[in-house]
Each structure stands twice: as structure tokens, then as C-alpha cells.
């Protein structure tokens, strides 16, 4: 449902372009907004309704292949726990920022699409704090 708050126990996945990855390590640039973007696009993993993490990753890889111009060989999927992400940013950001993470389904192409809101465009600190809590990294290309 559009605008639904994603539970803290759930997870989101961020597509990290190859230009944000070095030797498999994800840079803070993967969590920066492009000028004019309202929120950071992610996918709500539990919304994919797949039986395992491996099948969730496969689902995302298929989605990216359909969605993007080209999925680079070095591109990665970053998995983040919603609660850990929000808590880390709230605890460590200077303004105690509590990031809303909301379901933003794109029907019919990307029903698990979600957004991380309130990321400032002009400060890299939040992106550095998000990259601290990346739980898993997977290839974005199957």
C-alpha cells in the first residue's frame, strides 16, 4: 500500500551502481540523492514474498535487468535492516534525524518499490551513516 511505513524488523535493498562500488565495497555515494530526487529508491524485501534470501536476490536481479539501462558487472545489492538504519542515523546525525521509510509501489512493474525519505541533498553525512549498517552485499547482475 502506498505510503505504508515499513516495519523496523523488515529489510530494504538498494541497487548500488558499479561506480559506487570498489572491490566489492559499497561507497556512501550509493546512498546519495541525485539532484531533484525526493527519496532514495529501495525495494522492500519482505514485500517480494519469496521464500528465502537467495530467491529474493534473484527476484531483484531480474527486476534490475528489466528496469535499468544496463546492470554493470560491478554493481551490487546492499541489504539493510530498516530498524538498524533508522536507529543509526537518528543516534549519530547532528539533528537526530529519523528517516521515514515508506512503501512506494510502482504498479505493475515494481510493486516492492519503497523510498527512504528526508535524506538531505547537501550533506554526505547521512550517506556515510547508512553505509555503516549495510548488512549484506550481493551481485546485482545474475
Amino acid at each position: 500500500m502506498k505510503g505504508q511505513v515499513i516495519p523496523e524488523a523488515d529489510h530494504v535493498a538498494r541497487y548500488c551502481r558499479a561506480s559506487s562500488v570498489e572491490n566489492g565495497e559499497i561507497s556512501a555515494t550509493a546512498f546519495m540523492l541525485r539532484q531533484g530526487e525526493e527519496y532514495l529508491s529501495v525495494n522492500w524485501l519482505e514485500q517480494l514474498k519469496r521464500p528465502s534470501r537467495a530467491t529474493e536476490i534473484r527476484g531483484l536481479q531480474e527486476l534490475y535487468t528489466r528496469k535499468f539501462n544496463r546492470v554493470g558487472a560491478g554493481a551490487r545489492i546492499a541489504i539493510l535492516n530498516v530498524g538498524a538504519l533508522r536507529t543509526n542515523v537518528e543516534r549519530k546525525s547532528s539533528d537526530r534525524r529519523l528517516l521515514p521509510i515508506l512503501h512506494e509501489p510502482i504498479i505493475p512493474d515494481d510493486p516492492s518499490h519503497a523510498g527512504i525519505y528526508d535524506i538531505p541533498y547537501d550533506d554526505e553525512t547521512i550517506a556515510e551513516l547508512i553505509v555503516e549498517v549495510v548488512q549484506e552485499k550481493h551481485p546485482a547482475r545474475s
Binding site: S19, S27, A28, T29, R34, N69, G74, T125, E128
Partner: protein, 278 residues
């Protein structure tokens, strides 16, 4: 020299570098005083390399103001490869200091190490200016003349990033040139900095990071106009479990003096911090 020819020449240069490394030479073989190979690889086994006096080498046309690779064959049974930014239309080297001896490598056995095609003479060409420099020219300059120890690694990473950005974006454009130029100027002025992790922001600017732990982070976002935004995470020496986090905006020429006051040199540089707080 046309854009296409420059790209082609740069490609040849990188090919030669890779070939030399694959043959058993180190990545920075141009700078080594001795080119004796001790590699245990099958390709290099039993072979030796010597430095050739520049006075013995006949140089064919080399493009003005542009680093180049050319093949030379001054005597039977030997093929030489020169990698330099030396400029000379043709003839013997007039000033041997203009091209380091270590730039020339040769096999002691009658075989070709690697063959690189000769580029045409472009004696009237002028070096590129910062305003019209292409990404390839910047990378070439970095790879051949930047006085930093990790320049080969840096060129490789920047080439990879340029390719990735061009692939990712629908318009095929790459890294923002002015951002890259400011990043290179920054490194050039601070040769003791360690090689940063480099990535590209969604707006195609260079983002460099020096991290040694979650509480030792120094990152700079290089904007095309010469401004930067920086982030510093550093330990709070009065409270072991606490981290000091700060961010700000500055110009590229002063950001390091600001950051140095927060002790970033202790993890971002090989220098001993002089006025660090930590």
C-alpha cells in the same frame, strides 16, 4: 592530434603497461632504477632486462605534448618500448635528461617483448589546456606524470569508473571533467596522502574517501566549481566510545588544512601529523 587518436594512443599506452606487467615487471617499472626481473612467472623466467642508454636509441616521431608509447628497433634482435611524455619530432635524443633511462626497456634476447604501433608525427599539436582536456587526457597525465606512488592504481580505478558511468547513464556521458580535475589537483598538491577509495556521486562528481575504521573517516565530494563538501568522523579522545562527526563546505585548496586540524592525516596520509588534535 584528434580526440580519437588520443584515445587510441592512451589505449596503446595502457596496453603496453599491462603487457610489461604481465611480462614480470612491476606496475611502476618506468621509475625503477634497475629493470632486472626476478619474477617467477613462466613468461619472465630466464629473461633479463636492461636499461638502454638514450644515446643508443633512435626515436621516431612522437606526438608533441602527449605521453606516448612507441616501438624502436635500433639493432637486430632487439625490440624496445619507450613510455614517456618526452617530446621530439625525430632523431637522436638531444638531452638525455628529458627522458629517464628507466623509461626504456629492452629484452636481451632476440625477440619482441611487445609491439606497439607508431603514432604519426604531430609536431604542430599543442598540449591540451585544462578547459578542453578530456577524461582520457587527464588519465594519461595522471598515469605518466603525477608524482604520487599509487598513480597506476589510480588510473586503473578512474578508467573503471569512467567506463561504469558511461554504461550506467542513458546519455553515455562520463565523470564530470572539472570535478576530476580538482580531485587530481588536490592529490598532486598532497603527494603523501594515501590512495583513497574513489567513487562517483549520482551527479557524476568524484567522491574520495580515506577510511581506516568506522570512527576514522575522511571523505570529500569534489564539485566542478572548485568547492568541496567534506565529512570527518574521528575518535573522541576524551571518551573512548564516542565519535566526533563533522561536515562542511570549503574550497578544494583549503579543505586539507581544515581536515588536518582534526587529525585525519593520522589515517589518510603517511605523514606524521604536525598540528593534529588527536
Amino acid at each position: 592530434m584528434t580526440e580519437e587518436a588520443r584515445d587510441h594512443s592512451f589505449g596503446r599506452y595502457m596496453t603496453a603497461k599491462k603487457a610489461a606487467v604481465a611480462y614480470g615487471l612491476s606496475e611502476n617499472f618506468e621509475h625503477e632504477r634497475s629493470l632486472a626481473v626476478t619474477s617467477s612467472t613462466a613468461a619472465a623466467s630466464g629473461r633479463t632486462f636492461t636499461i638502454v642508454e638514450s644515446s643508443d636509441v633512435y626515436v621516431e616521431a612522437i606526438p608533441i605534448g602527449y605521453p606516448t608509447v612507441t616501438s624502436l628497433r635500433p639493432g637486430a634482435g632487439k625490440t624496445y618500448v619507450v613510455i614517456s611524455n618526452y617530446t621530439q619530432a625525430s632523431g637522436k635524443f638531444g638531452d638525455p635528461l628529458q627522458i629517464p633511462h628507466t623509461s626504456i626497456i629492452t629484452s636481451n634476447i632476440p625477440e619482441t617483448l611487445f609491439t606497439i604501433g607508431q603514432s604519426g608525427s604531430t609536431a604542430t599539436q599543442q598540449p591540451p589546456t585544462p578547459e578542453n582536456e578530456s577524461i582520457e587526457q587527464i588519465l594519461w597525465r595522471v598515469g605518466t606524470s603525477l608524482a604520487i606512488t599509487y598513480r597506476t592504481k589510480l588510473v586503473s580505478r578512474l578508467s573503471e569508473l569512467q567506463e561504469a558511468v558511461q554504461e550506467e547513464e542513458f546519455d553515455g556521458r562520463g565523470i564530470t571533467i572539472r570535478s576530476l580535475q580538482h580531485f587530481i589537483e588536490f592529490l598532486e598538491a598532497r603527494p603523501r596522502l594515501r590512495c583513497p577509495a574513489v567513487s562517483v556521486t549520482p551527479d557524476r562528481n568524484i567522491y574520495a574517501s580515506w577510511k581506516s575504521a568506522s570512527n576514522r573517516v575522511f571523505s570529500i565530494h569534489f564539485f566542478p566549481d572548485g568547492n568541496v563538501r567534506f565529512v570527518i568522523f574521528r575518535p573522541n579522545e576524551k571518551h573512548a566510545d564516542e565519535v566526533i562527526r563533522l561536515s562542511g563546505t570549503a574550497t578544494v585548496d583549503v579543505v586539507m588544512s581544515i581536515a588536518a586540524q582534526h587529525g585525519v592525516l593520522s589515517w589518510a596520509s603517511d605523514e606524521r601529523p604536525s598540528n593534529s588534535r588527536s
